[in-house]
Amino acid sequence: MNTETSRKAEFKEDPPRLPLNQIADETDQLLLNIDGYEGPLEVLLELARNQKVDIMKISILQLVRQYLVFIERAKALNLELAAEYLVMAAWLAYLKSRLLLPKTDDGIEPSAQEMADALQFQLKRLEAMQKSVGELMKRPQLGQDIFTRGQPEGLPIITKTRWDASLYDLLSAYGDIKRRGDEQHYDLPEFNVMSTEDAMSRLKKMLGNLPRKGVSSVWATLQSFMPERIVDRIYGRSALASTFTAGLELVKQGKLEIKQDAPFRPIYMRGLYAEENVE
């Protein structure tokens, strides 16, 4: 680590001690605000800051002592600290003992110096990140100093639908209708009736054959348009109804006139012809 040489030099001497009452004050202050700290590392950082020197120049040994005092004080006050504070205390106590012992190098464990360096680096790194938060918050911020457009129109998307349907789909759909029709097939009773369509064509044909008088034909009774010699009563009634209905439709089309002198009197009809067809 780049600060290693300076570190080594520092641990050779016993660091200058802070007055005890100052340590006690700081400790109580820390404990008072313990909820404001994010764990033991931050408490250590706060203690380090209190040494009022660059973290790279602080005395680790003194820092460890201060932390252990802090833990003792918490115990004395019956304050419950989270487990991580105690884990840190144990580790620091170990570090302290290693730092005070003559240097041994078994090649397996990290040296006391390396551990102290690591702690120092950790504190420095955390401090750097806390400073960076401050730097970031100092920048112009969106919604505070910098603004986006207030009324963005938005970017339109026009969706073009491409239908996924083949001729096969179309034919099979038609086949389905057919099959469904077959399944649901039932025999309707056959009625011998004159449909309105039939009545219409009969009526039109017959009107065309009526003698003409100017733009109209002569009057003829509804009855006279009925087929002759009807035996089937249903057919007869349907023929009457259908012929009358067809007549009304032709009236609507302006091709026929209907009159009845009084209720239940005979109904008369006559054809009307368009101007150009008059001979």
């Binding site: 969706t159 083949s166 179309l170 759909a173 209708i177 309105t196 039109k204 089309q253």
Partner: protein
């Protein structure tokens, strides 16, 4: 012209959530700013650009230039499946055209949801044909060139099996008995499908 004032006005109009009336601007701009002059200058600055400063009943706002509307839109092709009901309805129109809605329902044997025909119209596969000259003058539906395109047909007569289907009587679209609910088309008798001209023309031949 105070350039700093112009910058502030520009930023204000840009960031405001609503168009700003001169009264609002007076409240928000530094004391003594020549708001009328600044607005004119800004409007001039943006002339011919992609953004314009517009005056909407004396409230001011930036808007994208109206002539760019189309250029800003993104076209996206989406592939969608036609519903079964729509395909059935489509096939009926194809084989039976011109065909009324009542006839379609009669052939399908189920009431046709309004949206079904709408979907086909929207897809531009069917369009309204003439009104049938029968009571109620119902609208008929016919296929479009887009329909032929979609199914790669060069003519409606190319629909496979049309002759066979005709021979089998399946294409008889008259209801079996006029008592069916959808059979309000009493006069739907047309002998000549190809040029469904109604009664009028035939009558003239008599």
């Amino acid at each position: 012209m105070n350039n700093e004032h112009k910058r502030i006005l520009e930023a204000l109009l840009f960031a405001s959530a609503e168009p700003l009336a001169p009264k609002d601007l007076h409240e928000r701009m530094p004391e003594g700013a020549d708001i009328g002059g600044l607005l004119k200058a800004l409007q001039e600055d943006y002339k011919g650009r992609g953004i314009e400063l517009v005056d909407m009943e004396n409230s001011w706002a930036f808007r994208t230039a109206p002539d760019l509307g189309d250029a800003l839109a993104l076209e996206r092709n989406v592939s969608r499946k036609m519903s079964r009901a729509a395909l059935e309805t489509m096939s009926i129109v194809a084989y039976h055209q011109p065909v009324t809605r009542a006839e379609i329902e009669n052939i399908r044997g189920v009431a046709t949801h309004k949206g079904t025909l709408d979907a086909l119209i929207e897809a531009k596969w069917v369009k309204p044909g003439r009104r049938r000259e029968t009571p109620g003058r119902p609208l008929t539906w016919v296929t479009t060139p887009e329909f032929l395109d979609q199914f790669s047909l060069s003519s409606i007569m190319d629909l496979p099996g049309l002759d066979d289907l005709k021979a089998s009587g399946l294409l008889d679209r008259r209801p079996a008995i006029d008592a069916l609910p959808a059979a309000n088309d009493l006069f739907s008798a047309v002998e000549d499908e190809e040029n469904d001209e109604g009664f009028g023309d035939e009558a003239d031949n008599y």
